[in-house]
């Protein structure tokens, strides 16, 4: 059985919804970041799947977008984790339900 494009897209949709699950239903700030990273990875998988199954242009556009997306996701993870550490130093908690005041 050779997988068609639909199978790849369904796997990527499953990964996206699992990431959404992690981002919506966890209370620890780091897990929300993990969920966001998984959603980005699912989107990358989508790009590469469409590149592979579609017409082949000369500069491989899907691959380029995925490459830049990985770099940007890494930068965003770094800054997000730095923010989690900074917030923890101030409030001494990482439970996002308890971060509900605008005053520092």
């Amino acid at each position: 059985m050779t997988p068609t494009l639909q199978v790849f897209l369904i796997v990527s949709a499953a990964m996206f919804s699992i990431g959404l699950l992690a981002a919506l239903s966890r209370r620890h700030a780091i897990f929300i970041l993990i969920g966001i990273e998984m959603m980005l990875a699912a989107a990358n998988l989508n790009f590469i799947a469409f590149w592979r199954f579609g017409p082949q242009h000369q500069p491989p556009i899907g691959v380029m977008i995925a490459l830049f997306s990985i770099a940007i996701a890494a930068a965003e993870a770094a800054v997000g984790l730095a923010m989690v550490i900074a917030v923890y130093r101030h409030y001494h908690t990482t439970n996002v339900d308890q971060l509900d005041q605008l005053r520092g």
Partner: protein, 160 residues
């Protein structure tokens, strides 16, 4: 493209991702996150984009996963467990998955097999990066520098 390999990798990746999203123990969840990304890199290898797969392993498993475990270490108090699980999130995620799958299965034009493709060499990626995509490359470099400096400033101890 091998069907059996695809099924095994898909099951492994989705299981690891589910573990990362639902395990109460923080460290185990972070480590299954790393395993899920190795699975996604395996998908990229299957699809013929080896350079992107290797870059994914290098960046995510080598750097982002290490960052995440360091942050868990620096911000945990006594119990390293995550309390409480919001079930509303599960319903929303299931609804999103249902909607996406229905849309994918309904579109008949997506039920195609892979066309034959010349191997994507790193040379082609490099040429494309330096000719067509040189401005995005410079912008991403600038962005990474800004992120580096910003992250460092955020975690600097305030001078007393």
């Amino acid at each position: 493209m091998n069907g059996a390999a695809f099924v095994i990798i898909a099951i492994g990746t989705l299981a690891a991702a589910l573990a990362a999203a639902t395990l109460p123990n923080l460290m185990h969840a972070a480590l299954s996150f790393a395993v899920a990304f190795v699975g996604i890199a395996a998908f990229f290898f299957l699809l013929g984009a080896e350079f992107v797969g290797l870059a994914l392993v290098f960046i995510y498993v080598g750097a982002v996963a290490v960052l995440i475990v360091f942050t868990i270490l620096l911000t945990h108090r006594d119990a390293g467990k995550d309390h409480g699980f919001n079930w509303g999130g599960a319903i929303v995620a299931l609804a999103v998955f249902g909607g996406l799958t229905w849309a994918i299965l309904k579109t008949q034009s997506l039920a195609m097999l892979a066309p034959h493709m010349a191997t994507l060499t790193v040379k082609r990626i490099g040429t494309a990066l330096m000719t067509t995509y040189v401005w995005p490359l410079q912008c991403v470099g600038l962005l990474l520098t800004a992120a580096l400096i910003g992250a460092l400033i955020l975690v600097l101890e305030e001078k007393r």
